[in-house]
């Protein structure tokens, strides 16, 4: 009997070995193929980049893209009319190699020649006219950024003239965002909704495949106009929603780069020896937005007291694991339009209490604050609640799904304040308008802040950088002086990548681009 068992054990050994060998073989082929060509100096060029992103692409048609993170996907396929400088967010040439403004209500774009869409359709002024008119259709996500655009003329094949309803210098940077993404008119004319499944643009990559909410695959477009373009040969972006799963995917080599990483994963990333981690400034703010029409937050002394009672440094270190920068403006300090000289309140609980007494609230105040019920926001809200309690300010924190906004809060019907993130905008005036204009949807109850509408109009009516800077700094000062904005901090964009990835350049917008990246596969 024992001999039989031994025999059976011996017989099972090769099976076990075969299973292990199969597993090892399969695991070695699981990380994708692809090879990086060499440029002769030993530096890899191209290669296959596999990116893990917790945020799925909402829609591959720019006029229907709704997520503030869609641009990282879409910039691969679509080139924009203008681009921006990564550190300063200033307008830079894109498909329009230059532009002029003969008068404040006319913008002339001089287009590149020799550009074709990935389906072979030539890019010209007629394509620009087609695209911008498509952007203005009712129900698109782009119409809001082109509110000042009246009409477009294809003056000649290489010149497009934009006529504006009113002066709007923020339009330039809007053309580096979703409205400026040029889609192939032929593809749209063939099937109106085709871009949602098969995008066709004039960018450096042609679309290969996508599974909604799962992955997006593009490969280099050989006919791309910029022959000096450097970047991966192929980019696959995989949606991995769970933060820990994303880090596991990076550690095990399923992805070679992870973007928009949750700060709670920073220590796990830094502990891994074969990974590089970048934390860079971004435009993403964490503010407490307030309904300025409702008491007690309508009182500037109360708002100032709250700003003094909150401990921004503690929030950054505890809620964001250090991957954020305390802030007092919706713009990061790196922005060219940052309102230098504004008050940067440190924590002062006694002064906060005195201000409340001065405002007529010797027994303190109470207000409610809604927040998105995720662990991160719960962490921030609880900390704010305990910090403000020390100054006699009672905050009722109310979990509320904010995926699709909080209509009753934004219309001013319910709730006093909201803790949420604001992704920022390419143009500073657009960012201020989105939050503080008397018509802004994100301004609860559409409160009228004295001087703000005029200051936004002034900032948009001038085009010289120095003039815009002065106008925007003035606008920032108005917001700061009245404590109309309770920005707590700006999040840093966390990008982690394997050692095989090089050439990544962050941008201050906080939406990664993959230009210049090479991968040694």
């Amino acid at each position: 009997m024992k001999a039989m068992i031994r025999q059976r054990r011996r017989a099972s050994l090769p099976i076990t070995a075969a299973v292990v060998a199969m597993v090892v073989t399969l695991s070695s082929c699981g990380n994708g193929g692809g090879s990086a060509a060499s440029n002769g100096s030993g530096t890899a060029v191209g290669g296959n980049l596999t990116v893990g992103d917790p945020v799925a692409l909402s829609n591959s048609d720019p006029i229907h893209a709704i997520s503030s993170r869609d641009q990282s996907y879409l910039w691969t396929v679509y080139d924009t009319l203008l681009t921006f400088t990564p550190t300063q967010m200033e307008p830079a040439p894109g498909l329009a190699e230059s532009w002029t403004q003969p008068d404040p209500q006319t913008l002339v774009l001089h287009l590149r020649s020799g550009v074709t869409f990935q389906d072979g359709t030539p890019f010209d002024a007629a394509a620009v006219k087609f695209n911008l008119e498509r952007d203005l259709a009712p129900g698109t996500t782009t119409v809001g950024l082109l509110g000042s655009l009246a009409s477009v003329d294809a003056t000649d094949p290489a010149t497009a003239t934009l006529h504006l309803k009113k002066p709007d210098s923020s339009l330039l940077l809007a053309l580096s965002d979703l409205p400026g993404m040029m889609v192939s008119p032929a593809a749209v004319q063939k099937a109106a909704n085709s871009l949602s499944t098969a995008p066709v643009g004039a960018g450096p990559y042609r679309f290969v495949s996508q599974v909604t909410g799962s992955n997006f695959l593009v490969k280099r477009y050989p006919g791309y106009w910029n022959k000096n373009y450097r970047g991966p040969d192929q980019i696959e972006i995989k949606t991995i929603g769970d933060p820990a799963t994303l880090v596991n995917a990076l550690k095990s080599g399923q992805v070679t780069m992870a973007i928009n990483v949750d700060p709670a994963q920073l220590s796990a990333l830094k502990a891994a020896s074969n990974l590089k981690v970048e934390t860079d400034p971004s435009f993403e703010d964490i503010p407490i937005t307030m309904n300025l029409n409702k008491k007690p937050l309508s009182d500037p002394l109360v708002r100032k007291a709250i700003s003094l009672a909150v401990d921004r440094n503690a929030l950054v270190s505890t809620a964001e694991f250090g991957a954020a920068t305390p802030a007092w403006s919706i713009l990061p300090k790196q922005s060219w339009a940052y309102p230098a000289g504004i008050a940067e309140d440190g924590r002062n609980v006694n002064e906060a209490k005195q201000l409340l007494v001065q405002a007529g609230y010797p027994d303190g105040i109470s207000f409610d604050m809604i927040y998105h019920p995720t662990s991160t926001y719960r962490r921030i809200a609880t900390l704010i609640q305990s910090q403000l309690a020390e100054a006699g300010i009672k905050v009722d924190i109310v979990p509320h799904d904010l995926t699709n906004g909080a209509p009753e809060y934004l219309s001013g019907q319910k709730y006093d304040s909201e803790l949420a993130s604001f992704g920022g905008r390419q143009d500073p005036a657009t960012a201020y308008a989105a939050l503080f204009s008397s018509k802004a949807l994100l301004n609860p109850g559409q409160a009228v802040i004295p001087g703000v509408d005029d200051a936004i109009a002034k900032a948009n009516s001038v085009s010289a950088t120095a003039d815009r800077k002065a106008a925007l700094q003035n606008l920032g000062k108005i917001i700061s002086d009245g404590t109309y904005s309770m920005v707590l901090y700006q999040r840093q964009l966390i990008v982690a990548m394997s050692d095989s990835v090089s050439g990544y350049t962050p941008n201050i917008l906080g939406k990664p681009k993959f230009d210049g990246i090479s991968v040694k596969n």
């Binding site: 229907h64 698109t140 996500t141 929603g241 769970d242 209509p407 989105a434």
Partner: protein
């Protein structure tokens, strides 16, 4: 047989309608407005109103549900609010990844659970029985997401044997598809294996105490033959019942496991769609899940008839 089919179909239709109606109403109770979301960050009130009208969100809930039901009769589950793609296409692109895991989890549950249950019954009251029963108790109590994380840590990050995340299409590479489904299947199937082991054990113990088994022994039949051919077949009914329940639980449990393993199945699609208020996709996924569960129950009913001749004439 025809009567069984007719009766089952007769109960299936109202069940599907009720399930979809409940889900339809529940998802509209969640705060938030898809039109606001679809209008984007720079929305204007006009754009929101236009989208609301376009999607029919201004109509009454019953009218919206009626439209959805009307489409159902033409095999049209509507269009995804977010991606603008037909709902059926979206679901079809995610279903294969889930199906591989479901089958894998079921295999794990049965291939581990049934032999373990039989072994425990054979060794009733002895150390082996105690060990199997204790492990099964731990298995039932262990959350699948936690087991999934442990499996990833050891087999992916430490040993590098299996991918930590993701799935591969079966049509692209059957071997890699199976390879990437191994860990999620184990994570999802372990709880089932524990349940099956306990059910098989108790069913076998009951059967083994019956007279016909004693007769089998008296006839001189061997232990293996008695356990696997006679006792297990007679214990088949409760095993079938637990298998039916298990499949429903695997389908629902895959929502969590798919998230832990980053698998793009219909579980993760459901979570994304709920978060983005993509009503047509949520409805579609629920419909598919309900139909699958009803189909499984029907097959289990048929299996009862195969196992128990007394039911064939019923």
């Amino acid at each position: 047989m025809t009567r069984l089919f007719a009766v089952r179909l007769g109960t299936a239709v109202p069940t599907v309608l009720l399930a979809t109606a409940i889900v339809f109403l529940l998802q509209h109770l969640i705060p938030g407005d898809p039109a606001v979301s679809l209008a984007g960050e720079n929305a204007t009130p006009d754009a929101i109103e236009h989208i609301r009208a376009q999607l029919g969100l201004n109509e009454s809930l019953w009218a919206q549900y009626g439209h959805w039901l009307g489409g159902l009769f033409h095999a049209n589950l509507g269009t995804s609010i977010q991606s603008s793609q037909p709902t059926l296409t979206v679901i079809a692109s995610h279903l294969p990844a889930s199906v591989i895991i479901w089958i894998g989890a079921l295999l794990v549950a049965l291939l581990v659970g049934v032999p373990a249950g039989v072994r425990a019954a054979r060794s009733r009251g002895r150390a082996t029985d105690e060990v199997i029963t204790s492990v099964a108790s731990v298995g039932i109590a262990m959350p699948s997401f936690w087991l999934g994380m442990l499996l990833v840590f050891f087999f992916s990050l430490r040993l590098g044997w299996f991918p930590a995340t993701g799935s591969v299409s079966f049509s692209a590479s059957p071997l890699q598809a199976i390879h990437s489904a191994v860990l999620p299947s184990i994570a999802l199937g372990c709880v089932g294996a524990a349940e099956v082991a306990r059910q098989v054990r108790s069913a076998m113990i009951e059967v083994l105490s019956q007279d016909h088994i004693r007769t089998d022994y008296a006839k001189g039949l061997g232990g293996v033959s008695i356990f696997w051919r006679h006792a297990l077949k007679n214990a088949g009914m409760p095993i079938m019942t637990i298998t039916g329940l298990l499949i429903s639980r695997i389908i629902s449990g895959s929502v969590i496991v798919e998230t832990v393993f980053g698998v793009s199945g219909i579980g993760s699609l459901l979570i994304q769609s709920v978060n983005s208020r993509d009503y047509p996709v949520v409805q579609g996924v629920v419909l598919v899940a309900v139909i699958l569960v009803l189909a499984v129950n029907f097959l289990i009913d048929l299996a009862y008839r195969v196992l128990d001749p007394r039911l064939r004439g019923a």
